[in-house]
């Protein structure tokens, strides 16, 4: 064509290109500057400076050390004179007099603890002596009237000894000793998770797996394998059985929520799709419903529903169902709008009735898309179910928050975290395997 439109004029094109480049150049400078300015604002809005004061690094240290080690407590009640040895100071981990660990000997109102680094701690009545290698003997006494006394110059103590009139604390790499009027406590740290398999009151404690499997019957009333499994499953500290149930509950919530939402959303999506719902009003209504369901977030649904149904996995499942109905409705109706009409016309040309047109013309086209969306949501809902569980009180999320609130059993928190990550990764694997299998058909 000889006709040249004004926009094809070389000078005009040149100007347009120059303007575009100038705009791009401006953007590359302004956008990072804007982000930088935003970060400066955030720095003050989030009070990053104050964070250093609020941060409890000692908490971080207990947290980290608790995740890979445990402590055994030797405790003398200074009022009654009783001495006990317990793992983590818990009743369920208390040793009875016949099976004290090898590093402690308990006598008449006395105990001797031999530490890994060669040091010893001796409790004799109201006196406790800690022989620290390379330092010497630290002797502390307590009595009811004078409080706590130390054999060292209390004005010039090394920083691992803290002293006040009511308490002496000595912290070394091998152990921690604390003495008050009420009790003398020695904490000895060991590597690993304590009593992970069975608790001390079980007859199988202290025996290896091989002994349990092939050795003589340890409990006369039960066969070894069944008994050991029972004691492991009902381990009072780790509660493996309950944990497994909680994991199952979380997955159940995700499963019910996701597929329930898909079932509810599919018919509604037809009402929201341009090419299936001829009436504008119906379409608008369905779309606004989806927006509403999505907009009232899972958090609000959880709160609302837990008032009616009480806490538990079903409340979580329903909350997810409501939110995801909104998301699925939107996604499904978009997929329906992209359906190829030729296939439907082809089916219609054979004289198919409307239901048959949907069944053979529409469904085969959209099923792969929908299924892939649903399976993708299943994985992400497993994560949501953990969080919703923490709020509504069900599943592994609840166990996690409970273990965290006590702020002492960080090894259990670690255990739950590992299980949660494994669960989510497992669901991810299953959902992508199903996606491959069902959609691509390999």
């Amino acid at each position: 064509m000889s006709f040249v439109s004004p926009s094809d004029d070389p000078r005009h094109m040149h100007n347009r290109a120059a303007a575009m480049i100038a705009r791009k150049r401006l953007l590359t400078f302004v956008a990072p500057l804007f982000v930088l300015g935003y970060f400066v604002y955030i720095f003050f809005a989030f009070d990053i400076m104050g964070l250093a004061e609020r941060a409890r690094l000692d908490n971080a240290v207990t947290l980290v050390s608790d995740t890979y080690s445990y402590k055994t407590v030797v405790e003398r009640n200074n009022r009654t004179g009783e001495i006990g040895v317990a793992v983590e100071g818990e009743r369920k981990g208390t040793y009875d007099a016949s099976n004290y660990p090898g590093w402690v000997t308990v006598g008449e109102d006395a105990a001797l603890i031999t530490l890994d680094d060669g040091g010893t701690i001796e409790i004799v009545g109201d006196i406790v002596r800690y022989d620290v290698p390379g330092f010497g003997v630290v002797e502390a006494t307590q009595n009811r009237t004078d409080g706590v006394k130390l054999n060292l110059d209390t004005a010039d103590l090394p920083d691992w000894i803290s002293y006040s009139k009511t308490r002496v604390t000595i912290t070394t790499d091998a152990a921690r000793l604390s003495l008050t009027k009420a009790r003398t406590e020695v904490f000895v740290y060991d590597f690993g998770w304590e009593l992970f398999w069975v608790t001390l009151d079980s007859p199988y404690s202290g025996h290896s797996l091989m002994e349990v499997l092939t050795g003589p019957q340890l409990d006369p009333t039960r066969p070894n394998i069944a008994g050991a499994w029972h004691d492991f499953w009902n381990n009072a500290i780790w509660r493996h059985g309950e944990t497994a149930w909680a994991l199952f509950e979380t997955i159940l919530m995700a499963f019910l929520g996701t597929f329930g939402a898909a079932i509810v959303a599919l018919p509604l999506a037809f009402m929201a799709a341009k090419n299936f719902a001829p009436f504008m009003a119906v379409r608008m209504l369905a779309r606004r419903l989806f927006d509403f369901l999505r907009g009232v977030d899972g958090l609000i649904w959880t709160i609302l529903l837990s008032r009616a149904f009480g806490p538990g996995p079903m409340t979580g499942a329903l909350a997810m169902l409501f939110t995801d109905t909104g998301s699925f409705g939107k996604l499904f109706s978009e997929a329906l709008e992209n359906v190829d009409s030729k296939q439907i016309e082809g089916i219609a040309s054979t004289g198919a009735k409307p239901m048959q047109r949907y069944r053979f013309g529409v469904i085969p086209q959209i099923v792969p898309v929908l299924l892939s969306q649903v399976l993708y949501f299943l994985e992400s809902n497993t994560r949501s179910a953990t969080i919703i569980g923490a709020i509504t009180g069900g599943g592994i999320g609840l166990l996690l928050t409970q273990a965290m609130i006590t702020q002492k059993d960080w090894e259990e928190v670690t255990y739950y975290i590992i299980l949660i990550i494994l669960m989510v990764m497992g669901m991810d694997t299953i959902s992508s395997w199903l996606r491959r299998k069902l959609i691509k058909g390999d």
């Binding site: 989030f46 990053i48 409890r56 947290l63 907009g295 923490a390 990550i421």
Partner: protein, 291 residues
Amino acid sequence: MADLSAAPLDATRAHYLALTRQRRLYGGIMLLVFVLLMASGFGIANDRNAGGFLPGLPHIFDFPAGVISEAWTKRANLPDHLRNALPALVETINIAAVATLFGAFFAILLSMFATRGLAPWPRLIPVFRRIMDLMRAVPEIVIALVLIFVLGGGPVPAAIAIAFHTVGALGKLFSEVNENADQKPLEGLASVGAIWPQRMLLGLVPQVAPNWFSYALLRFEINIRASAILGFVGAGGIGYELKNAISWGQGKFDEAAAVFILLFLTIVFFDQLSSYVRNRLTYGSDKGAGK
């Protein structure tokens, strides 16, 4: 010419029908298993719930009705409550924005390290992929709760927790985008001696930036929801206000209503905004504007 006698045709038809029947049977069995799973799952969930489904159903509107009626009787306070909750809302949005910005930045880096053809150390691609899988698998609440214990409550633990998950989630999507990028500009840049950052910045980023932006925007919307939820478990922001107002119970329901309204409007706003902008990016300005 081939002799098309009737017998092989019949055999083929019989074979086809048998296959169809078999497929239908499998489909039916799968459907049955699915229905059974749903039904029994619902039964189990119902049993383990504190209140049952059917007894609770009539009361489903009790709480919303209580909130609305109290908010209505005290409707004069509503503007004040809305104004009071606004700083918390801004904090929630800030948490999401900071987490998305940081998350997207590290996701871009990780996604380049994990894409064939772009990675500076191709041998480490599987390592970076596993790192992203791991980061994606950690629910935000896990990191948030641990960090609240260490850093104290407030927006920072929530922002870190959400950013951590965002790196994994966006990293995977970004690396899928990167895989579809044209390698030719990169090769051209390499041939004139461009170093790795130059090749990425000049050869890759202009190709994929709109897609990255679109995914990051979607993530921002998801992160606002996450940040509201984390507030509920103690990380500050509007979720925290909501928890306080709700656990107070009757008497503060008007405050709860104000928070509900703000949260709902915010989520709807960002939901619509992100879908509008993403439509514009995918279909161009005409269709996006006309929608």
